[in-house]
Symmetry: C2
Subunit: 436 residues, 2 copies
């Protein structure tokens, strides 16, 4: 066979054992915590019928969809009939349309799964990556928005990412805000788009962009003045109190803050210029940032116009999404140096001893020790090197002499210390060694 | 929007919460047990470059590969450059070629993941289904074959599928067998193919097929006589003892039986006509059947010629595969009637009580109770019906009176009994209720 490129396809990753273990540990925590909050797991196929996906992500998004060629006699047409899922929201909308009455309503679900986008691969940007969404379908109550925040922040806390800040805003408050500054209604949308870039491009460039878009200069001056002030939140509150829309938006934010209360592991506050890029949000919106990490690690909000897309009607929905790939990167840094191999590696010194070694390994597993067995044969030194590489805590050695005497040599790999113990005492001895 | 078919694509499934929970429970057991046997998890992308997959599965298999259309300006060519993975073995071969020296050798890995085949969908046959493989790369020792059997049978036992039988044979023994009956060497392969169908089509039709293929009638008669005999195994052992290849095959089988020893939850025996359909096996082969379930639930063997496909050399390998979709179907039957909802559902009776209800739910989660919160609003009767639908064990009710009195009404949903307890006693009261 000709040499073949053995790398994974561009933009995708192979996950070697340490990676998979870390990811599975995080996923297990996420499943446990969302479950403890009354959210239920959902899973859908990796691909959908093409027409389910097209037209849902804008022109730019549509071009990033991986399409699957028709099969058999139709392959030659070069046409696609299926496509890999691009997110977990459209599949949720399809499930809501398909199983509506079979689902408990409100339907609180989470979904942790890979999605695929034919984006240009880059640093930290992949064509196959996991999303981790938690959503509530069928409730227009702010209690549902607050319950999302309880679940999302509890997951972050349990993942060990304490020190985060939840920034909360409301689309209604944003509309009230631009109104309060005297931005003409026709420019509301583009004003929000510009404001959303504040963190990235800074105040001066936002102000410049607003002027360019035709926002009156006194409005821009007032806004820029407030944004530069240390009492920004108070100033904005004052302005919002002056209009109906402003008061309604403020009430929404304050109600969610009240419902959520304190947040273990982090805090939560009104963030008056948080816009969230996506235009489909209709109510409260939030982002979770971690200063120490300089990263947005979660976000979400209410989007009442989306989930009903296959039902021809609005269905209220609110939810959040963990930036799971970024979170996993942070956990990887925290993990650095952590080794998680088996408790024990049983060596196999000779053909005669193999049956004995296998039985010993089985007994230890039955006693609750995770026990690797070296299946490669060869010299003891090589096997001990392997034990080290596998990050085993202890290696067991049992030659003809030990078998005859009913003993086992126990080598503690970190210290190099080796003790010979009676087989009957082995479990107790290992329990002591591993407890250290 | 025009009405759209909201079903998942043909041959695929949506997994609603009860399905996902059952599957995740099984996967967690599988990961835990394989890990305890020293196997490490691996994961690879859902798709591979097309040339990695084509030519690996025979002409028939190649036609079942889902191909992904090229993107952007190349989409119009109608050509594919990627394809969804068809199994977990070719990705393992690619990983072995790519990361060889970075992996501990022998490399013991497991991989639980979906694969995709454009097969005609049918009862129990899907286009997206999970495979669950456990393999050892880089060891030619029979200890590795026996260790596979320890791991696979331990998983079956821990999944609650005790009562299985491991049928063990060896390709060498099979070759010795056909030689012993006097089948011409040129007909060995087709004789094994015919023998492999014994369970499905019965002895008469196997004998007919052998004669048709040109196997001498005295060989067929001898074989058919042995196959019909109650002491089949002893008869075959006698015949194998008479040739070199037969003795070598028998020694291989007996060595694996000795290394494995007893199998908790099942038994293991020499199965002299077990051939396993796949021609790539080169050593011991096995199948695990469950009489009560009338199903093959696992299988595997040694396949020294496959894993080196991208390295241009033979790499010894042995492994097994759980029939995980079939096993999940069995677990679903065992599960019937089992309900696994949250411990507690907290109702929300009025806007005033919502903050209090959310705080109560958070406290209970902190105390270890999985706690759903009803976020839909509305009358108590509707909320209790929802609690029942969600299979919650207990519903909590706290109106203005209970809040003023510092109490909570606790409704046990199975019995309908309702008790009012002081808030300070709630956790103890719930623990007692849920312990029943």
């Amino acid at each position: 066979m000709a040499t073949i490129d053995a790398n994974p396809p561009s933009g995708t990753r192979d996950f070697l054992p340490a990676d998979v273990s870390r990811r599975e540990r995080a996923f297990a925590t996420i499943r446990r915590v969302f479950g403890a909050h009354g959210f239920e797991p959902l899973d859908t196929p990796a691909f959908e019928r093409l027409e389910v996906l097209t037209g849902k992500y804008g022109e730019e998004g549509d071009q990033l969809i991986f399409k699957i060629l028709r099969r058999g006699e139709h392959e030659a047409t070069g046409e696609a009939d299926l496509a890999l899922r691009y997110d977990l929201t459209v599949p949720l909308a399809r499930v809501a349309a398909r199983y509506g009455s079979q689902l408990p309503m409100p339907f609180k679900r989470y979904h942790v799964a890979p999605v695929w986008r034919a984006d240009r691969p880059g640093k930290g940007r992949y064509r196959e990556f996991f999303q981790c969404d938690v959503d509530t379908v069928g409730s227009d109550s702010l209690v549902a928005d607050a319950a999302t925040l309880h679940a999302v922040t509890d997951v972050l806390d349990q993942l060990g990412l304490s020190g985060f800040r939840v920034q909360l805003n409301s689309r209604k408050a944003l509309h009230g805000l631009v109104e309060a500054y005297g931005v003409p209604e026709a420019l509301e949308g583009s004003t929000l788009v510009a404001l959303d870039k504040l963190d990235k491009i800074g105040l001066d460039r936002v102000a410049g962009e607003l002027l360019e878009r035709g926002v009156p200069s006194d409005a821009v001056d007032a806004l820029a003045g407030d944004l530069a002030a240390t009492d920004l939140v108070d100033r904005v509150r004052g302005r919002l109190e002056r209009t109906d829309r402003g008061r309604a938006g403020l009430a929404e934010v304050d109600r969610v803050l009240e419902l959520v209360g304190t947040v273990p592991g982090g805090d939560i506050a009104f963030a008056p210029v948080l816009a969230r890029g996506l235009t489909y949000y209709t109510g409260p919106v939030f982002e979770v940032v971690h200063d120490g990490l300089d990263a947005t690690i979660a976000g979400g909000g209410r989007y009442d116009g989306l989930i009903g897309m296959f039902q021809g009607q609005d269905v209220p929905a609110t939810g959040g999404s963990l930036g799971i790939e970024r979170i996993l990167l942070l956990l990887e840094r925290q993990d650095a140096g952590r080794r998680s191999g088996p408790d024990v590696l049983v060596t196999v010194l000779d053909e005669d001893g193999a049956t004995d070694a296998m039985a010993l390994a089985q007994r230890l597993r039955g006693q609750g020790f995770s026990t690797d067995l070296y299946v490669g044969g060869g010299k003891l030194g090589k096997q001990l090197k392997h034990a080290d590489r596998r990050a085993a805590r202890v290696a067991l050695i049992r030659g003809a002499d030990e078998r005859a005497a009913g003993t086992v040599a126990v080598k503690h790999l970190a210290s190099g210390e080796q003790t010979t113990v009676a087989e009957a005492d082995l479990a107790d001895h290992l329990a002591r060694l591993l407890a250290d």
